[in-house]
Every structure is written in structure tokens, then in C-alpha cells.
């Protein structure tokens, strides 16, 4: 049931484009469109390779409010949910 609801939620949202890393499903690929956060974090993410225009693949979302794991180029990054919810992506079909 939860999975179904999740999927519907995404379908309704993808219609008007911008989701965050949270809504992405494991295995999906998307392009970073915007990082909605303070200057410090934007720079930190930038220095780790997360910039608008970058393609990312979601690998996993750990249970119990755990981090989101994404693959970017050739390496994996784990991001806390707070940060992941501020990274907007355009999900590829």
C-alpha cells in the first residue's frame, strides 16, 4: 500500500517537473536542477560534485529516517534527509 501511494505521489508531481532526491525511487536517474539551501551547504555540495546540471542515480533510501544514497559519476554519496530534501531533481522517465 505504502509503495503504491508513494508511486502515485510521484506521478502527480512529475507532471509539474521538480522533485527532490527524497521522491526519487531507487534505480531512477535524474538531473539536479536546484539546491535550495544556504551558501555554505551549496558550496560544500558543489565541492563534492553535486551541482545543477549533474546527473545522479538514486541507489537506496535507508529505513528508519536514514540517509539517501546516490551515485554521481563514479562514486557513491550518502546524504542526510534534511539535505536530500533540498536538492531538486528532474527525474528521467
Amino acid at each position: 500500500m505504502i509503495v503504491l501511494r508513494l508511486k502515485r505521489c510521484i506521478v502527480s508531481k512529475t507532471a509539474d517537473s521538480n522533485n527532490t532526491l527524497i521522491e526519487m525511487l531507487p534505480g531512477q536517474i535524474g538531473t539536479v536542477t536546484e539546491i535550495d539551501h544556504g551558501h555554505g551547504l551549496v558550496r560544500k555540495l558543489c565541492s563534492m560534485g553535486i551541482v545543477p546540471g549533474k546527473k545522479v542515480m538514486k541507489i537506496s533510501q535507508i529505513l528508519a529516517g536514514g540517509p539517501i544514497v546516490i551515485r554521481i559519476d563514479d562514486h557513491d554519496l550518502a546524504l542526510g534527509r534534511g539535505i536530500a530534501s533540498r536538492i531538486k531533481v528532474k527525474i528521467e522517465k
Binding site: K44, I59, L63, G66, V69, H75, I83
Partner: protein, 569 residues
């Protein structure tokens, strides 16, 4: 003497690189941020001497983070900067490179892990990269030493770059151009090995694998630790060291005071390694005979987990859980270590970023994580009543750990950085780095912990010569009878628990307590005051103020738990 500073992202193999060039061992692991202290060394090339400095790994230079500030300062003082780059993550690594270029220092790039890149089918056009950046680029494999000679010779060609500084946005566009010009990816299909690697990060399979690994770790640590104690250390201490102490004992009979300090008090006419409290008896035995074997076995397993690259994955899996009590997933390491011995557990909190985190986990370890000797005595005292009472004590401690964590999270303010963690690829552990690392850590423990624990034992020994302990016990005895349902003698046992919890537990046996009383005593003993060794390590790592805060929390938490248990059971 010219200063060469190694700069680069975390986990690009800078420490291995440093080792290769200098011959000195620097701790390296397959996870980011191993270099907290700065390693320095002298190297010579054809008679010319250089000072080599390994800066902490950073993603950027202009930031508030401690590691990045230190790295920035070191680079300002450098004569030549060697930017070590993970060739497999060229794009991300180049961000730091551009910041380094702006420092206008003679610079050279070491493109590390060149072999891995070639295996994975990534092509990098080195001449073009070198031309665009305006500095020499040398491919190297630090783990095998390939290309290092060439790099040493290229030091002379280090050039001050001539790049126009720009904004971060512009910089990324530039990097994009460099990458497009030099690097072409050829993607591979995921193999079953890739899928297995990913399984350690997926929600369900990841937790299952994590449980198996944790169980295995725990089992192996006990196996090695107990093996060392039973077959090597105890035979040594009882067969060879004991007779030696007896000779010393006779030798020092001219000065009773000196004898008490060095050999300690006799227990039933004999020297007791655990209770005599002499610097040479208990002091040596507790550190080398009890704590050291677990240090060796834990650091060995930890090294294995680090070098394979599993540790960051475990940290990611547990992060959600630990987050609820204000910590990061990495807090699993001190907690695991603490289950063997609280001393290395608290020492290992250094891997956590903020002081607040270190305080929270240190308090949690010393209160609610029973060390091996505490566990042995929980079993010893309650084991004959079946597994249920034993399990119950563990359950209570876990509950205390969770509740206390919650309370600490909301009552202590402080900097808690959000999780951004790079997950390194799996690598095969390498004996040549594993064993020196183990040795370096064991040596570090001996050098740091031995003197302070000895000092603590000396202090307790001196206190014992006064009547302070029985006096305290007498003062709190009525409280024990009235509110905790325990005979007043138990208060003395608890106070004695400061020395060594297992001795205290042993003292409970002749008191003929009921199961309920034993459970309450066991829980309180585990929570109450850390042993003297842990006490001293907290003092050293976090300072007197934090130690006193911790002790107040301990006294409060253990008394409250005892009260509640007495009411509920």
C-alpha cells in the same frame, strides 16, 4: 629546506602516498578523514632535502571546518604543493585543484589510483589536462609505488599556475570543459559482484548483512581477545611476573610506604593482580593483561572493516537510528569498541566531528555500554538463575542507552553537522597496511593510556590509605536500604566499583542477595561511575568540566534507574 605539502580530497590515498615518499607509516584507511593530526617527515632526493607535510583531506579550502582551515594554512606556508587526485573521481577532485591554483604556489598534480582507473576503462588524456591547468600531471599508483620516482623528479617543474580567478559557477563550467576535453567514460553493465556490493546499502539486505557482520565482529573480537588472555597473557603474568613481584616485594620491605605504592596491599596474604592496587601489580596487569588484548583484537577487526570499505556503509545504514539520539552513524565504532573495553571506545570518539557528539557518545558508553569484564560478571552473578535475568539486565541497559540518548540530544546544544559522506569503493585489505596500522594504534594506546591509568591507580591507592571509601559508603548506606531495597553493604561495593567493576561484582556474591537485588545491583554497577581507567581517559579526551558533567549525569541516571527498578520489579 623546501616545504612540500600534500593536498587533496579525503580518501584519495594521500596517507599511502606520504608513506611511499617518506617511509614513515601514516595511518590510512579506506574511509575519508583518517588524517586528523598532521604527519611531517624529511625526504631527500639526490642529496637535496625536503620537508614533506601531509595536510588533512579536504573538499574545499574556504570553509569553517577545522580540517579545511588547517589545510589552507599549511598550503600558505608551502614551497611546493603536490595535489593528490583520485583519478577515478577527476571531476570532483578538480574543484579543490582550482582552489589550490588560486593560491599561486608552485604546483604539481599526482594522478593517484591510476591502475584502478585503467581497469575500470576510464580514459584520461594527461597531456591535455596538463596543458589546460598549466602544471605537470603525473600518473601514480601510491600503493605499489609506480610513478613515484617520476613524480620526485618532476618536483623541479612545479609551476606557479596562471589561471584567472572566477566565481564558483564559472569554475564549474571550466571544470566541465576540462573534463569533456580530457576524460571519456565507457560505461559497463553491472555484474553480480556490483549487485552484491550494492546490497550492503539497500534497506533490507543491508540491515541483514550488517547484523551478520556485527555478530561476526563481536565473535572474532572475543575469540582473539580471550585467546590472548587465556593462552598468552595470564600464563605469563601468573608464571613469570608473579614470582618477580614476590622478589620485589621482599626487596622493598625496608619501606612499607613505597611497597604499598608499587606492589600494593596484600589480599588474604597474597598479591592480587586485580585488587592490590600497586603500580607494578594492578597497574601493569589491568593495562597489559586485561585491556591490551581487547585493544589488539578490536583494532585488528576495525582495521579490516576500514580497509575493505565496509565501515562507511555500516555508518550509513545506522545513521537514521543514531540520528535520533543526536549522533552520526559513525558512532557505531566507539559503541562497538566500548563493548570490549570502554577505554578504546572513548578514545575512538575522535573520529566524530563535533565536541558535542563526542561528549554524548562518551557519556553513553561509560553509562550504558558494559565492557567485557562487566559483561563477564553480569553473567557470573546472574548466570545461575538462567538466561532471563541476564537478558533483562542487557535490555535495561539498552533502554537506558536509548532514553538517555534522547534526553542528551534535546538538552545539549551544539554543532551537529548534517551527514554528507562519501562511500568509498570496496577494496581488498592489504596486509602491508593492516599490520603496521594495528601496531601504530596499539603503540598509541600504550603511550597515551598507560601513564594516565597508572596515575589513576596511584590516586585510588592513596585514597585507600585514608578512610574515605568506607566513610562514603557509610554515609549513603541508609539511602540504599530505604529506596533501592539493597543492604547497606552494597553501597561499599558500588563505591569500590570505581576501581574495577568486576571486583565489585565479585564482592556481591557473599552478600546473599535475592535475584531482584542482584539485578538492581548489576544494573547500577554497570551504569554507576566508570572504572578508574575510563575515568582518566574521559578526563584526558574531554577535559575536567565535561568529566564532572558526565559524572553528575551518571550518578543521577544510575540512581534513578535503581529507584525505578526497585518500584517496578
Amino acid at each position: 629546506m623546501k616545504k612540500i605539502v600534500l593536498a587533496g580530497n579525503p580518501n584519495v590515498g594521500k596517507s599511502v602516498f606520504f608513506t611511499r615518499l617518506s617511509g614513515i607509516y601514516a595511518v590510512s584507511s579506506n574511509y575519508p578523514g583518517t588524517t586528523v593530526e598532521i604527519s611531517r617527515s624529511q625526504i631527500s632526493r639526490e642529496g637535496e632535502k625536503f620537508e614533506l607535510i601531509d595536510a588533512p583531506g579536504t573538499y574545499a579550502l574556504e570553509s569553517d571546518a577545522e580540517a579545511e582551515r588547517i589545510a589552507g594554512k599549511l598550503i600558505d606556508e608551502a614551497d611546493i604543493v603536490v595535489n593528490v587526485i583520485d583519478a577515478g573521481n577527476l571531476e570532483r577532485n578538480l574543484y579543490l585543484t582550482f582552489e589550490l591554483l588560486e593560491k599561486k604556489k608552485p604546483m604539481i598534480i599526482a594522478l593517484n589510483m591510476w591502475d584502478e582507473v585503467q581497469r575500470r576503462g576510464v580514459k584520461i588524456d594527461i597531456p591535455s589536462l596538463s596543458k589546460i591547468l598549466g602544471i605537470p600531471v603525473i600518473p601514480v599508483v601510491a600503493t605499489t609505488g609506480e610513478g613515484m620516482k617520476k613524480l620526485l623528479h618532476a618536483l623541479d617543474q612545479a609551476q606557479v599556475p596562471t589561471l584567472v580567478p572566477g566565481s564558483h559557477q564559472e569554475r564549474w563550467q571550466e571544470i566541465g570543459q576540462v573534463i569533456q576535453a580530457v576524460q571519456s567514460f565507457s560505461y559497463k553493465k553491472p555484474t553480480w559482484v556490483d549487485r552484491l556490493k550494492e546490497a550492503t546499502l539497500l534497506p533490507v539486505s543491508g540491515f541483514l548483512i550488517g547484523l551478520v557482520v556485527l555478530y561476526g565482529v563481536f565473535w572474532i573480537v572475543r575469540f582473539i581477545g580471550e585467546g590472548l588472555i587465556n593462552y598468552i597473557l595470564d600464563p605469563f603474568f601468573y608464571r613469570f611476573y608473579y614470582p618477580f613481584l614476590l622478589i620485589l616485594d621482599r626487596y622493598f620491605s625496608f619501606s612499607p610506604f613505597l611497597r604499598t605504592i608499587l606492589i600494593g596491599h596484600l589480599v588474604e596474604g597474597k598479591i592480587d593482580f586485580e585488587q592490590s592496587l600497586g603500580l607494578l601489580s594492578t597497574g601493569i596487569y589491568v593495562e597489559l593483561g586485561v585491556v591490551l588484548p581487547y585493544i589488539i583484537s578490536f583494532y585488528f577487526i576495525l582495521g579490516l572493516l576500514e580497509d575493505t570499505g565496509y565501515l562507511p556503509r555500516l555508518a550509513v545504514l545506522l545513521d537514521g537510528f543514531f540520528h535520533r539520539i543526536g549522533l552520526h552513524g559513525y558512532a557505531i565504532v566507539p559503541t562497538l569498541l566500548g563493548l570490549g573495553c570502554n577505554v578504546p571506545g572513548i578514545m575512538s570518539t575522535r573520529i566524530l566531528e563535533s565536541k558535542t557528539e563526542r561528549f554524548i557518545i562518551s557519556v553513553l558508553i561509560s553509562i550504558a555500554v558494559p565492557c567485557a569484564s562487566q559483561q563477564a560478571l553480569i553473567f557470573g552473578v546472574l548466570g545461575k538463575y538462567g538466561t532471563l535475568p541476564v537478558m533483562f539486565v542487557y535490555f535495561i541497559l539498552l533502554l537506558v542507552w536509548i532514553i538517555l540518548g534522547f534526553i542528551l540530544k534535546y538538552s545539549i546544544k551544539g554543532y551537529r553537522p548534517a551527514l554528507i559522506l562519501e562511500i568509498p569503493p570496496y577494496r581488498f585489505p592489504y596486509w602491508k597496511t593492516l599490520i603496521p596500522k594495528l601496531w601504530l594504534r596499539v603503540k598509541g594506546f600504550l603511550k597515551e593510556a598507560l601513564p594516565i591509568v597508572s596515575l589513576g591507580i596511584l590516586a585510588v591507592n592513596l585514597l585507600f590509605m585514608t578512610d574515605l571509601f568506607p566513610y562514603i559508603a557509610q554515609a549513603v548506606g541508609p539511602f540504599f536500604q530505604k529506596y533501592l531495597g539493597l543492604p547497606s553493604e552494597v553501597s561499599l561495593v558500588l563505591v569500590l566499583g570505581f576501581l574495577r567493576k568486576d571486583i565489585a561484582m565479585g564482592l556481591l556474591a557473599p552478600l546473599q542477595l535475592t535475584v531482584k537485588q542482584l539485578i538492581i545491583s548489576a544494573v547500577m554497577l554497570a551504569m554507576f561511575f566508570p572504572c578508574v581507567a575510563t575515568f582518566m581517559v574521559i578526563l584526558k579526551e574531554l577535559g575536567a568540566k565535561k568529566l564532572i558533567q558526565g559524572i553528575i549525569i551518571m550518578l543521577f541516571a544510575s540512581t534513578l534507574t535503581g529507584l525505578l527498578l526497585n518500584l517496578v520489579l
